[in-house]
Symmetry: C2
Subunit: 262 residues, 2 copies
Amino acid sequence: MPRAATGESSIARAVRIFAAFTPDETALQVSEIARRTGLHVATASRLIAELTALGLLERGPDRSVRIGVRLWELASRASPTRSLREAALPFLEDVHALVGHHAQLGVLDGDEVLFIERLTARDAVINYTRIAGRLPLHISSSGHILLAYGPPDLQERVLGRPLVRYTANTITTPEALRAALAETRRRGYAVLPGHVHEDAAGVAVPVRNALNDVVAALSVIVPNDRRAQAHVPVLLAAARGLSRSLTTPAAVRGVTNGTFGQ
Amino acid sequence: MPRAATGESSIARAVRIFAAFTPDETALQVSEIARRTGLHVATASRLIAELTALGLLERGPDRSVRIGVRLWELASRASPTRSLREAALPFLEDVHALVGHHAQLGVLDGDEVLFIERLTARDAVINYTRIAGRLPLHISSSGHILLAYGPPDLQERVLGRPLVRYTANTITTPEALRAALAETRRRGYAVLPGHVHEDAAGVAVPVRNALNDVVAALSVIVPNDRRAQAHVPVLLAAARGLSRSLTTPAAVRGVTNGTFGQ
């Protein structure tokens, strides 16, 4: 592997450059990228030029740098989350139509929830998770599902770390989290009113694959008005449909056997 | 830029590895990756090990290699297509609910249509475009929109190249394509019955940004039964709503100002 003098490979540096962009800062000047990555401006410039030539980055009219469409394409077309995401979209639509609020699908990645899809209500007033956004497991209803049905070592890791407070309702002690997870397993769903934001409640249920493993959490974000629990049946129904579609071969489903359109 | 003996950088080689995966082949053995990329097995192995350590690739239980969730996350969270895609989803849902077939959003990338979002009918029999899939401009209704409203040099490039035939209906002469594009501009929409596949018709309309530039094509894939044109009004209405949402600042829309959920 060719490496620069510091011992860090150019691929590792490229990852640091990609990671400098955020959902709110999708265009950055070279100097800002250098600052955020800790790379010398000359080094950053050279790498950005190479990444731009490969289409992984793009330059705007004001010379600002953005993530390139080619990177998105390479990451998306064979993404490990693609088939789950595609299978989930019709069920997310059903939930969205029936509940009328934000509906989303989250998976475990590292020790966090990574949201791989969501549908949003056009007139909703409550803020919500982003696609490709992350949340800590202990504060989100999806996180409680992924924790409650996750591997024991994951639970122990999370319970052994400080549980950061987001609101007055956030669970911040291992005992309370352990009790909440036991309750989630007993009921088969998680309802978290005001744990991330005072005005919002999260409701989540597990999505299982053909082996009956929980592979994702299906959730809605609704107003925190004590009616959140009423959405559980719709979520459970949608999750069952999605689970069934995950256990049916793709050729039968007809979901992933097409390569053309017009 | 550190380079291997052949003069190709490790980043360029990594791109070749990412590009070896397809929507139908999301898991590959190292030997197959070496074959597809033309890299020596030892070189491919070293690169795959580094990319796996960075999370850009993942190893399955059978040692097969996949695109990593981290690559998808880096590419998606600040993707240049993200805001358009997020703004479009509610309108795609409306189209999908009213038309009942595949609805999709395509943008121009290179000299092709790149589909950045779609909603699919669960029981649809017709094959369709994939997310992050591409189609030549001359065969798809979305391509006709992007060509008809695109820069003149793009039209000249496409008209100057061989127009590959997909079905008996595919337009394969520059004269016929020029006439079809003029008609598309005159009518404000494109209907292509059976140009990609005999059984499917594509219907597409332009999506404009705040500057009135056409930035995307909104389309449906429906059965090729001479009723395709009936879907034009729904598409035009959805495209107008989407265009309006693109011309409204994000803070007012409430679409992209949230960073949390639960």
